[in-house]
């Protein structure tokens, strides 16, 4: 079974530009999560989808971040406009309902200059 995939693997943009990250979860996993690791610090939760619904978006830093999961399959995370402090590695994870463990993608390294 294919794992969680993320695109792009690396993105370099200038401050003020827009970037969209994509995550494709494991097939059949209704739960999808976004996390972020900034500058070698701990990995922090951003939000959680159950199918297409946002279950918890308490970790979203501000309204420059918009996550969607149309149709309950893949998800996108848009940052608009990007700021320097948004640089970091953005991880996506998915989990099958009834299971406890999450499966992570390889991450997208975002660099804002």
């Amino acid at each position: 079974e294919a794992g969680v995939t993320q695109f792009p693997s690396h993105s370099v943009i200038e401050k003020g530009q827009t970037v969209t990250l994509r995550c494709d979860p494991i097939s059949g996993h209704d739960n999808l999560y976004w996390y972020r690791r900034v500058m070698g610090k701990e990995i922090k939760f951003l939000l959680h989808f159950v199918k297409e619904s946002k279950q918890d978006e308490s970790g979203m830093p501000n309204n420059r971040f918009l996550a969607e999961r149309t149709g309950g399959t893949y998800s996108t995370l848009k940052v608009q406009p990007a700021e320097l402090e948004d640089s970091g590695v953005y991880f996506c994870a998915s989990r099958k309902t009834g299971a406890y463990e999450q499966y992570f993608g390889p991450g997208t390294r975002l660099t804002v200059t």
Partner: protein
């Protein structure tokens, strides 16, 4: 509030020796605990979890972890380290969302 601490930024161990990567937690209620490993340019790979039951949990690649409720710890262990175990290890706690520690870099020396 829930929290996780990994007190060591880096752990060095000789190949063939036992290894321990430490994790302590603070939660209200029963903890769900996890260990993940990240190899260079890869995502986090699930190693093992503690939900309930036996305090010693066995996972992938020969790793195990011991849940200690009185010490609120969940240390990752392996009896004999391999050079290929060198990676970044994360402890996490949570139910539907995780709180992670800051990570511990394990370096196994040949």
């Amino acid at each position: 509030a829930q929290s996780v601490a990994q007190p060591e930024d880096q752990v060095n161990v000789a190949e063939g020796n036992p290894l321990t990567v430490k994790c302590t937690y603070s939660v209200s209620g029963n903890p769900y605990l996890f260990w993940y490993v990240q190899y260079p340019n890869r995502g986090l790979q699930f190693l093992l979890k503690y939900i309930t039951g036996d305090n010693l949990v066995k996972g992938s690649y020969g790793f195990e972890a011991e849940f200690n409720k009185s010490q609120t710890s969940f240390h990752l262990k392996k009896p004999s380290a391999l050079v290929s175990d060198s990676a970044l290890y994360f402890c996490a706690v949570g139910t539907y969302k995780y709180i992670f520690g800051t990570g511990t870099r394990l370096k196994v020396l040949a």
